[in-house]
Amino acid sequence: MTLKQCYEAMGADYDEVVGRLRSERLVQKFVLKFLDDKSFELLRTSYESGNYEEAFRAAHTIKGMCQNLSFTKLGKSSSELTESLRGGVSPNTPALLDCVCADYKETTDAINAFKAELPG
């Protein structure tokens, strides 16, 4: 699996990210790093414990990372979630959170699959 195929699998824009960051090596490094980021866990736990301010910041961080890496699909759902959490919780937050969870799983699955095929 190539990095480009990985991007296609998660609904992300490979050409855009390479255009901006100008180095496939860099993109690959940060894509793999995305797996280690704890923001998603933080989002879920803080949401469940009712700490919406923390949840907002976690969603915001995910959104920022997605923008940096051109993860279009997860970026879009996390951005909507961020807005719904700005200033507290809103009625559509649970649905948006589900959506982010699904997109997050799709994204990490794709990255894991890519990682599994890497030499060494």
Binding site: R20, L21, K29, F30, D37, R57, T61, Q67
Partner: protein, 683 residues
């Protein structure tokens, strides 16, 4: 070369490392996980940090919080900030700019754009910091000039007024202290740090009018008669007129302040002072402050007419109104700085002008310029240009830049106009106008000096004569060579300033000339004669020297019988006879009263020379026969010291008088014994 440091504040580790990866080739990176950490880093390493890349949404303290802290602590002027955020709403962007952000980069960002904006911002700030440094240097240079001026003035006043030369320095220090205290107490007088510096400098001139007062009155021991006191009192108005009559610089604020101080530093708060009887705050604050400083220093110093009072006595006399009447606010300022007043007594050199004080003034100039501009969105570059020309006009310095390749000189607009040059001069070495201004050899000299600089020691300073407006004027050229960033830096040009120092140089020369001469006869006075004699003997110790001391016989009687006007005429004629009897290189001096000196070099028959001179010094003045007595000492007899020569000539003169006047005597050691035994007898 040491890399510049960028601080990245972002709560997402990934975001930080993306940025760090983009920038770590050129810069060292410090990372902060939130606003609190960012503030902590800045509080310890502010001056190391060249740029802050700042996220807005962060835990603990967000990006706006960081900006507010930076504003509160004044860090925002020292470190440029680029916001990188996905919070792109215009209200966020506007707030970030309001808080002093330099640039705003929206996420997702382009690596190339980030790199370029970072580089540009850092370069711009570096250049600005260098400019601030240059302004500081210029202010420093100016201060140094005025220190020099004050040194010379103090010296001149010492010659004339019989005051301690430190008086001017003390008055200046006390003036500065009082004004600084006053500034903190009230804004009634609209004082700025720059005003304070200017008033303190101008205070040096407060007694310049005493130049025109007869030495007899100035240095009279004991109380002045009412008539003499009236004459003494004219010095304030005369000083003000001297300054008003300056042919140039009349509109300079410094000159205006100096005039105020001269005219009104003897006014009193209760309106009973002179020359105008101004009352209260009708007296300019500059003159009020100098008046108090002057009185305190005069009281605590020794004068021919009085012993020194102690610090405590002086303060007591001022507070009780025994010595002038002052603004109660100033008395308060004095009382609050009592210890500094005491310490001012010990100060004897003007080296106390500290660099931090200059910084205060520079900073104020900076703030003053930007004060009206609340929108920080103003383009920095534009700001820099405005600042630059503002400073140039403040200092009357001509600024220029020189580049090696292409060979080109650019001159500031004002400077080009003043010098009659083009603003951009290509191939300057061959430019006719520039060559005309510089004159022969100056370009080569500057170029040689510039090429001898190194990146570690890039600055040079040179006084040279430039041709401006068909006149030859002394100018001070200061230059700093510029070097490339290569591992082995290459010389690639220079920046510099030219300051016209002609007027101050000429004025100082004139004043020195005035102070070194006797008003009535135009001969040198005693102090300058002594200095010149010593210099000459030191320079050429192998030559033969003679000192003749001359005293007019029965001069008191001449004055009593024929009046002082006739006496003056005799003194003037004797001076002319002296000048007519010696070579131009010899020194003629009126040492005071009817006592004169001639100092000459000789090769051959000194006895014949002295005889010839002596015969010229006895003459007929309006039908009255005037004779003199003269004592002569030779360097080879008594040694090459002024004091020894003077003493020996004095002994010989005494012998000549004792021998019946109207004669001259050479000193020999036998005379010494005569004088000694005589002295013993008379005691």
């Amino acid at each position: 070369m040491k890399k510049e440091i960028i601080l990245i504040a972002d709560d997402s580790e990934m975001n930080r490392s993306i940025l760090a990866d983009m920038l770590s080739d050129r810069y060292d990176i410090i990372e902060a996980e939130d606003g609190v950490q960012a503030v902590a880093v800045m509080s310890t390493r502010l001056s190391d940090i060249s740029l802050l890349l700042l996220d807005i949404v962060m835990p603990n303290l967000d990006g706006f919080g960081v900006l507010e802290t930076m504003n509160k602590n004044g860090w925002i002027d020292a470190v440029p900030v680029i916001i990188i955020s996905s919070e792109n709403s215009s209200s966020h962007v506007e707030r970030a700019y309001e808080l002093g952000t330099t640039d705003f980069i929206a996420r997702p960002f382009d690596a190339l754009i980030v790199q370029h904006r970072v580089i540009n911002t850092i370069l711009l700030y570096a250049k600005q910091k260098r400019l601030i440094g240059m302004v500081e240097d210029q202010v420093y240079e100016k201060e140094r000039h005025s220190d020099l001026m004050i040194d010379i003035l103090s010296h001149i006043m010492e010659f004339r007024n019989g005051e301690s030369g430190s008086h001017i320095l003390h008055v200046r220090t006390l003036t500065d202290m009082l004004l600084t205290c006053l500034l903190n107490k009230t804004d009634k007088y609209n004082l700025t740090m720059a005003d304070i510096s200017m008033i303190s400098t101008a205070s040096a001139l407060h007694d310049v009018g005493k130049m025109a007062i007869d030495e007899k009155i100035l240095n009279k021991p004991g109380k002045l008669t009412p008539e003499e006191f009236e004459i003494m009192k004219t010095h304030s108005a005369i000083g003000a007129d001297m300054i008003s009559d300056l042919p140039v610089h009349r509109q300079e604020p410094l000159v205006k302040v100096a005039r105020e101080i001269c005219r009104w530093h003897h006014e009193r708060w209760d309106g009973r002072g002179y020359p105008d009887g101004l009352k209260g705050d009708d007296i300019p604050i500059s003159a009020q402050v100098v008046a108090l400083a002057d009185v305190y220093d005069a009281l605590t110093s020794e004068r021919v007419y009085k012993p020194p009072f102690t610090h405590e006595e002086a303060i007591g006399m001022i507070v009780r109104g025994e010595c002038g009447a002052f603004n109660p606010l100033l008395i308060e300022c004095m009382n609050e700085n009592i210890e500094q007043f005491r310490q001012s007594r010990e100060q004897s050199s003007p080296d106390d002008i500290k660099r931090h004080k200059l910084r205060r003034i520079s900073e104020e100039m900076l703030r003053g310029e930007g004060g009206g501009v609340s929108k920080r969105t103003l383009r920095l570059l534009d700001k820099e240009r405005v600042r630059n020309s503002f400073y140039a006009s403040m200092t009357e310095a001509i600024q220029f830049e020189y580049s090696v390749d292409p060979s080109m000189v650019t001159v500031s607009v004002w400077g080009a106009k003043k010098l009659g040059l083009d603003e951009i001069i290509m191939d300057p070495k061959k430019d006719a106008k520039l060559t005309a201004v510089l004159g022969d050899g100056t370009w080569e000299l500057l170029s040689k000096r510039l090429h001898a600089t190194t990146p570690e020691k890039p600055e040079i300073r040179l006084d040279c004569q430039l041709h401006i407006d068909n006149m030859v004027r002394w100018c001070r050229v200061a230059m700093r060579s510029m070097w490339t960033d290569d591992p082995t830096p290459k010389f690639d040009g220079a920046i510099g300033t030219v300051i016209d120092i002609h007027d101050s140089r000429t004025k100082i020369a004139e004043l020195e000339q005035k102070a070194s001469r006797d008003n009535l006869t135009g001969l040198l006075n005693r102090a300058s004669t002594k200095a010149q004699i010593e210099m000459r003997m030191q320079e050429r110790p192998e030559d033969h020297y003679a000192l003749a001391e001359i005293d007019i016989d029965d001069f008191k009687k001449v004055n009593d019988v024929y009046g002082h006007a006739f006496g003056d005429k005799v003194l003037q004629k004797l001076a002319r006879q002296m000048l007519g009897s010696v070579r131009r290189s010899d020194i003629c001096c009126r040492a005071g009263g009817e006592e004169f000196f001639i100092f000459l070099e000789y090769n051959t028959d000194i006895e014949r020379t002295i005889d010839r001179i002596y015969s010229n010094l006895c003459f007929d003045c309006d039908g009255i026969n005037i004779s003199v007595s003269m004592g002569v000492a030779l360097g080879e007899t008594v040694g090459l010291s002024y004091d020894a020569l003077y003493h020996a000539a004095d002994v010989a003169l005494y012998a000549a008088k004792r021998g019946g006047k109207h004669q001259y005597r050479f000193f020999d050691s036998s005379l010494e014994g005569v004088l000694k035994s005589e002295t013993k007898q008379t005691r």
